[in-house]
Amino acid sequence: MRTFLERQRYLLDYTLSSLARRKGKNLSLLAVYTLVVAALASVLFYTQALRREARLVLRGAPELVVQRLAAGRHDLLPDRWVGALAGIRGVADARGRLWGYGWDPISRANYTVLVPEAFWGARGEAVVGHGVARARGLAAGDRLLLRAADGGYLSLAVREIVPEESELVAADLVLVGEEDFRGLFGIPPGLFTDAVLAVRNEREVDTIAAKVTRLLPDARAIGRSEILRTYDSVFGWRSGLVVVVLLGAVLAFGIVAWDKASGLSAEERREIGILKAIGWETSDVLAMKAWEGAAISLAAFALGVLLAFGHVFLGDMALLAPVLRGWSTLQARFRPVPFVEAWELAALFLLTVVPYTAATLVPSWRAATADPDAVMRS
């Protein structure tokens, strides 16, 4: 065992000195390799952080949302529906909700105007998200002018800005009182955008959703898990898109790596020939080359992951955030909490380190299995 370890130590020492001898070539390869790993790891880390953040924020979301559909289109819901929903066995509370999207031509963005359960402002006041405040240059006490459904303008005093922690889903929010909302969108009393239900037993959400559609055939019930799935697939789709774009870089790296790995230079072939002639076995040469591949790929992997960690969690994903977070003008400013899943690292490891190490072994194996005489003559 001691002999084996000593032998590996010799081989590793020799590998490191061999890498140092071809500094320029190996450092440039390491740099490209590190950047590819960093780019892929950044996408993975950030997507995961976004999903996690969405999950945390949506933890306080209603368990069930009920919409009214008219010929498949979302329509306003009468308050008698709210009463009917509250009467379903297992429902703890039912409440009509008022919200809507409003296009603002000044900031060229959509706002989400919402009446919270208990609006803490007075009539004519609004609480706005950070995205809205940034887009319109608003601070508390300023006035926000919105074009109403009747063609006039609704002037709202900004009471406060929504705290930044919840910005991922609140950047484009404008919170107003019920009267202002109805005035803005022209919705008469007794009608709501949708209804939210609180259920007594969370595990019965699906059962209650089925009861809702039985009771009100034009209703559509949406569970919290469905909203989470939507977020997951949106962020997953975006990350997939970025990964596809990055595939070009991965492919280019693959070509560089293969060229480096398969194109043993005359000097390298001669060196293998010398080593074999002086008594190294094929397995010794392969072990040395495996150490070489592992040293480059592990260093690139470690550096790439560290770089990605810094980029995502300390540098706010400056390079790729706009693509992954969304394309809205009112983009959320969001600082992801450092969190890395072990399986993601394992997948990245399998996709980057293993293929490279294998690619370095194939040509070396070809050279190492030939007679030393033939290797030195070629």
Partner: protein, 225 residues
Amino acid sequence: MIELRDVRKVYGEGRPDEVVAVDGVTLSIAPRTVTVLRGPSGSGKTTLLTLLGAMARPTSGRIVVEGREITSLPERFLTEVRRSTFGFVFQQGNLVRGVTTLENVMLPAYPLGEPRAGLLRRAQALLDELDLGHRARARAEWLSGGEAQRAAIARALVNSPKVVVADEPTAHLDTALSRDLMAVLGRLKAQGRTVIVASHDPIVCEAPVVDRVVAMRDGRLEGAA
């Protein structure tokens, strides 16, 4: 000790550019002697050296080293024979560039995994013996031709081989350095080693230490085996 029987080596067999490098050589080499394979370039002496040193396999014929036929040995055992029996000195030394002289000397022993301290002592002692101790930390490419050849001899000796095989060791040395090198080979013979040299250099062929000169031409032996 080493016997070659009707050994033949063909490169690119069956192809239009086929070359018969060694053609039916039968030769016996006695232990503790210095044998020189003499011949012009292309006569097949380097190929013959690689065959009897287990660096290549013959196309046909048999090679027996210390009573053991090595011709059909699997690669792993052939390497073992090469490592334990032979030490090689190539033309121009063939040291690994970018590596120190000391590490070059230690290289053949790496696969054996012996403790570092002992190996370092032995390699340094060999360099001292060949008057190269002061160049131990110099990189291989910084050595002069004569120093590189002596470093190559030290490397060939690090695993204490019974046979030292040298291919044109004086090809790039001047007369004085060539004579020094032959003196070193004489010391190896005195230590009880067998030395086989391929060369067409008269200084080598006529050196007093040489026991036997075998002439080659066109892949065949000119003298009797």
